[in-house]
Amino acid sequence: MNAHSETAVGEPIVSAPFFLRGELIEGTDVIQKSRDLGVTFATPNIPFDKAVPPRSEVPPLLNVPTAEIIDFLVETGQRLVAPDNEYVHECFDRMASTHILPRSVFENVGKHAVAYLDKRILQAELEQNFPDPKALDGWIPKQDFNGRKSFVRAYAPRLIHVLPGNSPGVAVKSIAQGALVKAFNLFKMSSADPFYTVAILRTMAEIDPEHPIVKSMSAVYWRGGDAAVESVLYRPQYFDKIVAWGGGDAINNVVKYIGPGFQLVSFDPKTSISMLGREALESEESMDIAANAAASDLMMLNQEACAASRFQFVEGPQDKVDRFCEKFQRCIADRAEASGDVRPLSSDLKEEVEALMMMDDEYGTWGRADGKGLVIRSEEPVDFHPINKIGNVVRVDSLDDAVKWVNVATQTIGFYPSARMADYRDRLGAGGAQRVCPLGEAGASTVGNPWDGMYPLHRFVHWMVNENGIDGG
């Protein structure tokens, strides 16, 4: 990983320091390139021996009560949104050069994510993820019908988190969850955001540099797939689990290292959709309401989020569906304009969209292929992945016809009207879907609910048993 070329002397280059269990490590040993914008930034070499604590060390958080951890996380949250937090300011300044989203958008997301660091939310996470959250704090006595006794512990795991590049909010959540399960955590940051995780950890260290939470957290960057790093770190002798977001090459790289003792907890790449019943087309008012709600779901993180809707199945005749498309496009364009996001479409995407525009008797299009909000109406989902403020309205005679397009990559399905959810959820589950919700509410979820088909904290921990015999205890 030292083979990267140096940039020309004098060119200003953003520095991305590492955080290793309380220690900030700065350096310009390696010149890296961000994935989306090709911006260069500098990092130190990874001090491997600091990033991997020896197995002889009991995890620092093991015997810190979860109540104390929650208090510390809550305090961290308060400091993160404090106007005088220099780490966060500086981090957003740096991110502005590497992130695909406009500053105002990721800044909002970053701040919004801090709301997760709330006492009631964190407690609810523990209560929903574990039948008995006390198993995190101590050895829980058990006895079976034979009279055999034992103790069970949700033992603190060693986790590598491979963070996604699309949403800065994930850093907040991952740090909190890693702390709640008392893990020793190594965060692999993304090239789009090699800063925010470190800013959060520095904020923690400022509260108490010797706190066991701080001593349990490290954050570094390497280029995903770099065998010189991954082959060293991805070993069961060092870590129990790798918590990875994404798919394709990102996961294929990780999968190579999975084996006995080194497990994958994957947050898979997801596509979200909307289903609008004919009720949406009943009147101008209902169309307005539905178009607005559909645009709200589509524009989550300006359509960079996994819960952001990409395909909208609309039940009804073409003329009414087209009227809806017109309103829908306007709602998207308004939100796009308000966000200040002016990214053009990638040339491949533009090419595909323009081909459909040429085939105008088969497809309807509203807006232009300019990244400012576009709706394409078709009889089947388009081949490409709608991204950068594009809605693909698929006209159907009945929502029953839309069910076949749900697959194992489908995450959220927003319904209008919500009364129709109950008719569909069983069939959608069989197809592979994970959640249904009222249209317009793709972003919100009940505190402590499962994610990606699982209770993640439950998957993170290393369940350990202390058998105590028939007469023991």
């Binding site: 699309n166 394709g248 081909a355 459909l356 194992v408």
Partner: protein, 451 residues
């Protein structure tokens, strides 16, 4: 009266065709670009759209052409469902959006499959070639009879210039690669055979079933079915069994070809293929105990395409040459792409690919939307390769490639004054790496086994 395009194309067999500097040719090239643009702007629907969007009405400089270049992906922008559901009329209509000539009177009755559709189009003078990608969509490149006639001429000229081999019809030709059975490849193959192969010896065709657009498309269709979750387990089992059989045939072809070369080692040979195939055959020949000493020192080699992501040892080039006794003087390499209609041969003295007068090279930024600064009087520029091939008649000649190249307007070490390309061509797709991770994604990440 001869047009600017005709003047430039008349250089095709001029021995000094690469010796004209860009500064000398540029005024004529601009005139030719405008001729072509004026002639096509109302006939190619996609071009019309581009020109309207960019507000271009006339080409007065190379800059004017940039927004009118088609990315290499333009020819695969057809909706895949047309293929899946065999909507031939719709696919024909899509083709019409990139064709300068109306596609009319094509018999659409009872088309059996995509190969049948392609042959019906060919019957009306529309020749479809496809890109050789194995996953994802195939590009469908439309061309006409004039393009075929040009290819015939150009391929022989390019090879003769680049290898120093005169077309004397005195060699035994050995194909070391499966060739896609598309009109352009067939035309090129025929032309080379006529020019270089001794008629009574014939030609060794690589012993694998022809790769047709249909066979390439099967893979695409299967992938889509897997993604949509409608591929049944037995269907996948059958598909994989067929793939395994096919692989066996491909493996056998290497040995059969090596045996044939050895049996004909006393003849003057012209071996052809892509590096991966040539290397595999060369290795088989070596394994059987034969090498340079057993072959004629005047043998020659025709290499088409780059490495295509093949994993080969560092010394693959020397290994192949030394196996077949190819003199370094005879080292031939050509830079081109399916989207173009002409080749750019590499000179032996300067080791650079030379751009002919009828191809206007443009170096764009990585995004492909603006020219990198350049000076026609000299200097090397690095960036995304784009070309306007004025020899193309049956489709728009302006293409943005996926390649990163270094173009120099200074004279080459070989003495020629025309623009030339350094031998370090790379694909952007290979340079980007795969440091991508995010929670938003597609079903593509869940499909395995058709890569």
């Amino acid at each position: 009266m001869s047009t600017a395009i005709e003047k430039l194309m008349s250089y095709v067999d001029a021995p000094d065709r690469f010796d004209h500097s860009a500064a000398e040719l540029r005024p004529l090239q601009i005139e030719a670009l405008n001729e072509r643009f004026q002639d096509r702007k109302d006939n190619i629907k996609l071009l019309r759209h581009r020109a309207d969007e960019a507000g271009v009405t006339e080409i007065t400089s190379v800059e004017d052409m940039v927004p009118l270049l088609f990315p290499h992906t333009a020819y695969k922008s057809y909706p895949e469902s047309f293929l899946m559901q065999e909507k031939w009329d719709r696919l024909t209509k899509w083709l019409g959006t990139v064709s300068p000539y109306p596609i009319e009177d094509v018999d659409m009755e009872d088309i059996a499959d995509i190969d049948d559709w392609i042959s019906r189009l060919a019957a009306k003078g529309h020749y479809i070639s496809c890109s050789s990608g194995t996953t994802g969509k195939s590009a469908m490149l439309i061309a006409g009879q004039k393009d075929m006639d040009w290819s015939k001429l150009d391929t022989v000229q390019v090879f003769a210039w680049g290898s120093g081999v005169e077309p004397q019809a005195n060699r035994y030709m050995v194909g070391c690669a499966p060739v896609a059975a598309v009109p352009k490849n067939q035309t090129i193959g025929e032309a080379q055979k006529t020019a270089f192969s001794k008629p009574e010896w014939g030609r060794w065709n690589y012993p694998v079933p022809p790769i047709t657009v249909g066979s390439l498309t099967k893979m695409v269709v299967m992938r889509k079915k897997m993604a949509d979750g409608v591929a049944l387990p037995q269907e996948i089992a059958d598909f994989e069994a067929t793939s395994a059989e096919r692989q066996q045939v491909i493996d056998d072809a290497i040995t059969l070809t090596a045996d044939n070369i050895i049996a004909n080692r006393d003849k003057l040979l012209m071996v052809s293929g892509m590096w991966s195939g040539l290397y595999a055959v060369a290795k088989a020949v070596r394994d059987k105990g034969y090498s340079a000493k057993d072959f004629n020192p005047d043998n020659c080699i025709y290499v088409g395409g780059g490495l295509k992501r093949a994993q080969l040892p560092d010394d693959y080039n020397e290994f192949v040459h030394q196996t077949f006794n190819i003199n370094p003087e005879r080292d031939f390499q050509n830079y081109s792409m399916q989207e173009l209609n002409s080749g750019m041969p590499k000179c032996r003295e300067g080791n650079r690919y030379h751009v002919p007068p009828w191809i206007v090279p443009m170096i764009l930024n990585k995004d492909g939307d603006a020219l990198e600064p350049y000076d026609l009087n000299g200097g090397e520029i690095e960036g995304r390769a784009a070309f306007f091939d004025l020899s193309l008649d049956g489709r728009w000649g302006g293409v943005i490639s996926g390649d990163k190249i270094s173009l120099d307007y200074s004279p080459c070490a070989c003495g020629n004054k025309g623009p030339s390309i350094r031998d370090n061509i790379a694909r952007y797709a290979d340079l980007e790496g795969d440091d991508k991770i995010g929670c938003a994604g597609t079903i593509d990440a869940y499909v395995r086994g058709v890569a």
